[in-house]
Every structure is written in structure tokens, then in C-alpha cells.
Amino acid sequence: MSSSIRESFSEFWASNISKLGIVFLTVLVVVSIYTVTTLPLDFGVKYWYNPTYWVDYPKAAQPEWVNLFLSEKLMKHVELSTTKATGIKPYDDRFIKYYNVSYNHEYSQFPKFITLKISNLVFYDRNSPPIVRFYVTRPDGRTVELYTLAIETPSDNTTPPFKYFSTEPKRILLSGDMYLARSLVGFLYREFNLSLGTSSVLEVGNERIVFGRISGNNTFTPLTGKYVFSIVLVCRNVNDYVGMIDVVLGGYVYGLMGTDVLGRDLSQGLLFGFPVALIIGVGTSLLTTVIGAGLGIVGGYVGGFVDDVIQRFADIVNNIPLLPLLILLSFIFGGRLWLIILVLVFFNWPSLAIIVRSMVLSAKTSQFIEAAVAIGASRLRIMVKHIFPQVAPFILAQMIFFTPYAILAEAALSFLGLGDVSMPTWGQILEYGFKNGAVFLGYWWWILPPGLFIVYSAITFVFIALGMEPVVNPRLRRWR
């Protein structure tokens, strides 16, 4: 027995296509394990489908590596953060703490937006909460005052230390901000003797003036060089501090895979698609095979009434046009992964049962089965020990060949908006892209990778199944 398994395996391993399939499968499994261990299991609910998590990400940004092919580089998304004060200075009866971050701008575009974030502000004096001021010093040495944040006095029933913005950071979107626009009006007049009203400043765009030099009549071109953002904390108690300060400069390219229109990092969603596809593919095909092969063997060997019932039922289910009912069922019962798997299993076991039954019928007549019956082996023993090994290779091949079908079916349902909404899948990413006109706007980075991954995971199993063909169907061997 074991030698025949070894023989089959070497037969299988002999073809290049099965080697390729195994390599693909290994990658699939490794990436899935990596995903499950690094991303939280409630990633879908907690992050992917939670738009507030993605507000600081650039919307519909291309992957960073497109810059390799562009002569004019697109600005990378930047998030500058600091946790430590770079300096402290007494000032009258107060203290000033400096937090500095610097950034070298070398692109011919302006940032898409500028956002400031403060998390975890702690202070001790109830009567004089600190003031936070934001400045930026530009490459030309000029300084713009960006924002001043006054902290509210804490309510009476709290005790020091007072903690602000600890659960959710305070977020200041500077593009379109009135305060900054007014400050920029003064800045332009003072530094360049240029009179612009707040409305025309807002029309040009705050970020274009902060990051620009005047290049004509109310037009600005990006000023390249080193920008230093300094955040100044004016506080009464020397122990007051800010936990973290972030300066977000919205870019045009982001990460390995880019982002979608909500700013979601596509690489994370795509990564999560791996274990989901694997579970759907393997889970569905395993269940379908166990049920289909089990009922096929029982029906074929036991025969009689049991066989009739199974075959009639299989015949009926096998004659149903699948996709419309699949759509209806997923629509009514809502997208849940296990339900999608069950529906796929229900509609697909019969075809396997029918074939396995016919194979069992011919295996049943062989002499060693007769011998086993003559010795007095029980039906169950004969089915498990003697019939099953006869059809096992075929069943295994069917199972592997069915896996890509399940992966593709789930992707199709997801694409119709009927997928499991608690986790991102490749089909859902495509659906959201298609609904938001990614195809018509040319957001190729949103459309290409999910489909490629679907094809990749499906073709992995097709390759393995093709490699198994000569093992299952020995007649093909002599042709090689």
C-alpha cells in the first residue's frame, strides 16, 4: 500500500505543472498563516469596514512603486510623528516645550492635504490648561503659524492629571481651515507684500500656500527643500506633556498596493483575502467531497431503496441551474461565510455522488470484494477497507479540482455584493471598486491585484489537479 502511494507521488511529482502547483500552494498557505498571525481576526469589522480608521490615509492613491516608471515622481504619503520634546524653556511663569519634526519635500506636487493630530495630552493645573501652537519653517526660512489649539478647562468633578485625546486623537484638517487661511493672509502680506483675502486663499488652497512659492498672479509652485514643523506646548506645570504629535501630508502614492476611495490600504485588505479564500476553497471542497463520496459509496454498495432515494435526489439537485438560486439564497440569508459554504456544498455534492456510485458499482463486482463478503466482513468494513481505497485517488482529484470552483463562486457572490460583510475578500474589494467607478476612472491598482490573486489561488489547485491526472487515470501515463 505504502509503496503504491510512493509510486503515485513520484508519478505526480514528475510533472512540472504539479511542482508549480505545490510551490504556489506553499506560498498561499504561508501568506495565509502570516496574515492570520499578524492581522487581528476581527480586522474586517474593526478596521476594514470602519471608515474613521482610514481618514488620515490618502484617497485613491496609486502604489508607491509606480514612481519607478515615472520621470516626474509622485509625492509619497507622509506621516511624521514625534513623542519626545526636543527642548524646554521657561517663559514668564510658564514653560514652553518644543516638539519638532522635519520633512524634506522634493516633489513637483503639493501635498493633497495637511492634517495635524495630537494624542494623549496630559496636564496638571486645572486653572490654566496648556496651549498648543503649530508652526512650520519653510526652506526659504519663512515661518507660517499653522494653528493654535486652546484646551478647555476640565470639569469640576475630575482630578489631575487631566488626560485629553487619549482614546481618539484630536484631528485638525488644515486644508480648508479658516484659522490657517487668516494666518496665511497675514503671512503673504508680511512676507511677499501680496494682498489676498481669506476667500481667495481658500480658493488657492491652504496647503498650496504653505508648501508653495509665488510664481505669478495668484499661482503657486511647490517649494522644495526642508520643512520643519514645530509644535509648541505652552504650559504652567513642567510635567505637562503631549504623548504624540503627528503631521500627515497627504500624498499621491501609498504603500505597496495603493488605497481605495475611502483611503483603505489595499495591501491589508488583499492580504486578508488569502486565508478567507483558502478556507472557502478547502472547506467547501472538503465538505462536498465527504458528502458526495460518502453517499456515492453507500448508495453504490448498499443499493436498493437507499440508492434510489440518493440518486433521485442527486438527479434533481444536479438539474437545477445553480447561479440564480445561489444569488437568491445569499441575498435572503445574508452574506455569512459558513452559509455561502453550505449552499455551495448543497448544490455540488450530487455530481460527485453520481460518478462515485458508478465507480463503486463496477468495483463491487471484483473478486476480492466477493472474497471479503465470503469471509464475513461487515458492510461497513468492506466499504471503508476495500471499496474506498479503490475510488480514493479519483475522489482526491475531484476534491482538488473542485477547490478553484468554490473560490471563484465565492468571489462571484462577493462581486454581486452578497459576500460576508464581516471580512474583506478579493471579490468584495472588486465589487466596491466597480461600484465606485474604478474601471471608468482608470484606478487599475484597485482592479488588477484582487483579480490576479483570485486567479492565482484558483490556478494553484488547477495545477495540482492537472498534475494528478496521470496518477488517477493511468492510461495517460504511457503517452508521456
Binding site: 505543472i17 433521485r312 438527479d315 434533481i316 438539474n319 437545477i320 441551474p321 447561479l323 440564480p324 438560486l325 444569488i327 437568491l328 439564497l329 441575498f331 435572503i332 440569508f333 478553484p404 471563484l408 468571489a411 462571484a412 462581486f415 454581486l416 472588486l430 466597480f434 474601471v439 471608468f440 476612472l441 482608470g442 487599475w444 482592479i447 488588477l448 484582487p450 483579480g451 483570485i454 486567479v455 484558483a458 490556478i459 488547477v462 495545477f463 492537472l466 492510461r475 503517452w479 508521456r480
Partner: protein
């Protein structure tokens, strides 16, 4: 078993399938409470309209409420909401079996009719135009290349085709469609993004035809590109397994000319299973390309069904499920009959 009996059993099974699917659909829609919810929301909508109209005539609010309540009771009876959902089943199933398909709520034909039968009759030709021509092209490709490659089994060409068919099995047609749009419509701007005609469609019949061709090109190419691989592979496998049979070897050994061996011994035997695939593909294609139709915004049966499900249009869903199953089942039956004609072994 006699031939008549075989066919009769097959026919009965298929009728059972038809009624089974219909009952199943009705049960699912009814038991999940969907039917009641949708019907009462339609009724409430209607009631609100009536209230608005009556409010201009009846000033006294109490009298108005009484009048509305009376109308509400009538409506509940008219919609059958006074009976549990399962009491509505027999009537519904009977009506659909007799092809009295009712009317849709939102979807209309271009001429404005909302009778389900009109809508389906308007959509079916569109689907047939796209899907059937794709199927015929794919079938022709499969029939042309399949046997030729089967006879060159193991060569480089054969392996290349196997790889192509493996890729096409793993390739979602709808995704390929999106790529095609991205490339030909967005990047190159040479083909339309979707639909069947330009808006407004050209007046001149010939120009109209050209416009249709221009629109059908991309979805058709997608379907051929995505599916022809499987067709070649299936034909190849069938021909290959037949050509390895002993009787083919015997024919060759006898010294029969190769052409004759191929025609009489291989193609004749391989024809029934190939035909099975064509028939099933044909029947399945009426419903099968829902996603491709959606991607290309093709006004066929697939998009219609999708719309019906999304707007929970009960009568449209039922009618379409029935029509899909009917077509499928009819094709299966024709297949059984054809099998008897083509394969004498079945007649034994």
C-alpha cells in the same frame, strides 16, 4: 428497460425538478418572511397615496382614519396578507406554471410595460445575442482545435493549450471583462464602456446595427477569451479518451485510412459527450452570465435577475427562476432524446 420508459422517467424527473425549484423558491421567499415584509411595505406605500388623496376630500380626521382603515382591510385581503404566507403558495405556483407571470414593480420594458412576460421577452433576445454567439464561437474554436491537439498529445502545443485552459478555468470572466474595459475603453478609448446601443441609438437601421456590433465586441471578446480554453480542453479530452480505445487501435491495425478512422471511429463516438456540453452550455448561458452582463451593463436576463433580487421583486424573481429552470430542463430533455439518436448503446 424500454426506451420509452427511460425517457418517461427522465421526463418525470425533470418535471419534478421544475416544480421542486419553484416550490423551493416560494418556500424560501415565504418562510424567511421576505414575502410578508415586501407585500406589507408595498401595501403601506399604496395606502399612503390613498390617504393623501382622501385628505383633500375628507376634512374630519376621525372620519378619514375610519375610511383609511376600511381600505386597509380591503387591501390586506387583496394582497392576501390576512392569510399566512403558505396559503398563498398554491395560487402563486399554479399561476407561474401556466406562465401567467404577473407584473413587475419597478422594472419596465422600453415601451413602458411592466408585465413580466413582456420584460422577459424583451430581454431574452439580448442575452441570446451575446451569450449564444459567444457559445457558438467558443464551440467552433473547441471543435477546430480540440481534436487536432488531441492527436498531438504530449507535444509542446498540447501543453501550451493545457496551460491556457487551466488559466481560463481559473479566470473569472467578469474580472477579465473589467480588465478589457479598463484597457480598451479607458486607456485606448476605442470601445464603449458598456450597454448595447449608444444613447441615443442611431436612427438608420444599418448604423444601428453597426452601433450594436461596436458595443457587442468587447463583451463577446471577453467571453471568447475567457472560455475558449475550457472548450478546447474538453473537446481534446473527449477525443483523446476515445482515440485510446481498443477499437480505434483495431481500426488502425486493420489498415483503415486515417481519415476514415477519425471520422467513423473517433468523431462518431466523441460526438455525444461534446454535444452534451454544448447543450448544457447553451441552456446554462441564458442565466449563466449574470456577472458578465452586469460588468458590461448588458440589458439581458442576467442583469434583470440581479435587479429583481436587489429590489426584492417577488413575482419577477419567481418568474425568472422558473424560466431559467424551464429552459435548462427543456435542454436536458432534448439532450436525452438526442443521446438516444446519436448513441445506439443507450437504446439497448
Amino acid at each position: 428497460m424500454g426506451l420509452g420508459k427511460t425517457l418517461a422517467i427522465k421526463g418525470l424527473t425533470l418535471i419534478a425538478v421544475l416544480i421542486g425549484v419553484l416550490l423551493f423558491t416560494v418556500l424560501i421567499i415565504g418562510a424567511s418572511g421576505l414575502s410578508d415584509r415586501v407585500l406589507s411595505s408595498i401595501m403601506n406605500e399604496e395606502l399612503r397615496g390613498i390617504r393623501q388623496r382622501l385628505a383633500t376630500q375628507i376634512r374630519d380626521p376621525e372620519e378619514l382614519n375610519r375610511a383609511i382603515e376600511g381600505i386597509r382591510q380591503d387591501l390586506i385581503k387583496a394582497y392576501g396578507l390576512d392569510k399566512p404566507w403558505y396559503a398563498r403558495i398554491p395560487g402563486m405556483v399554479l399561476r407561474i406554471i401556466t406562465l401567467d407571470l404577473g407584473s413587475a414593480r419597478e422594472v419596465q420594458t422600453f415601451t413602458g410595460s411592466n408585465k413580466v412576460s413582456d420584460i422577459i421577452l424583451e430581454r431574452i433576445p439580448n442575452t441570446i445575442l451575446l451569450m449564444t454567439s459567444a457559445l457558438i464561437i467558443n464551440f467552433a474554436i473547441g471543435l477546430f482545435f480540440g481534436p487536432r491537439i488531441a492527436l498531438k498529445h504530449g507535444t509542446r502545443i498540447d501543453r501550451a493549450v493545457s496551460l491556457y485552459s487551466a488559466v481560463s478555468y481559473a479566470l473569472p470572466t467578469w474580472w477579465l471583462g473589467m480588465l478589457m474595459i479598463l484597457f480598451f475603453s479607458f486607456q485606448l478609448r476605442i470601445l464603449p464602456f458598456g450597454g448595447m446601443y449608444s444613447a441615443p441609438p442611431p436612427e438608420d437601421p444599418f448604423m444601428r446595427f453597426l452601433d450594436l456590433l461596436w458595443h457587442v465586441l468587447l463583451p463577446l471578446a471577453t467571453l471568447v477569451l475567457a472560455l475558449s480554453g475550457s472548450w478546447i480542453y474538453i473537446t481534446r479530452s473527449i477525443v483523446l479518451s476515445v482515440s485510446q480505445e481498443d477499437f480505434v487501435n483495431v481500426a488502425r491495425v486493420k489498415g483503415l485510412p486515417e481519415g476514415l478512422v477519425r471520422r467513423r471511429y473517433i468523431v462518431r463516438v466523441a460526438a455525444p459527450p461534446i454535444l452534451t456540453n454544448v447543450m448544457l452550455g447553451l441552456a446554462g448561458s441564458i442565466a449563466g452570465a449574470i456577472l458578465t452582463e452586469i460588468v458590461f451593463d448588458w440589458p439581458g436576463m442576467g442583469t434583470l435577475y440581479y435587479k429583481a433580487v436587489m429590489s426584492v421583486d417577488e413575482s419577477l424573481i419567481l418568474a425568472l427562476t422558473y424560466v431559467f429552470t424551464l429552459i435548462y430542463v427543456l435542454a436536458r430533455f432534448v439532450l436525452e432524446v438526442l443521446y438516444v439518436v446519436l448513441d445506439p448503446r443507450v437504446r439497448l
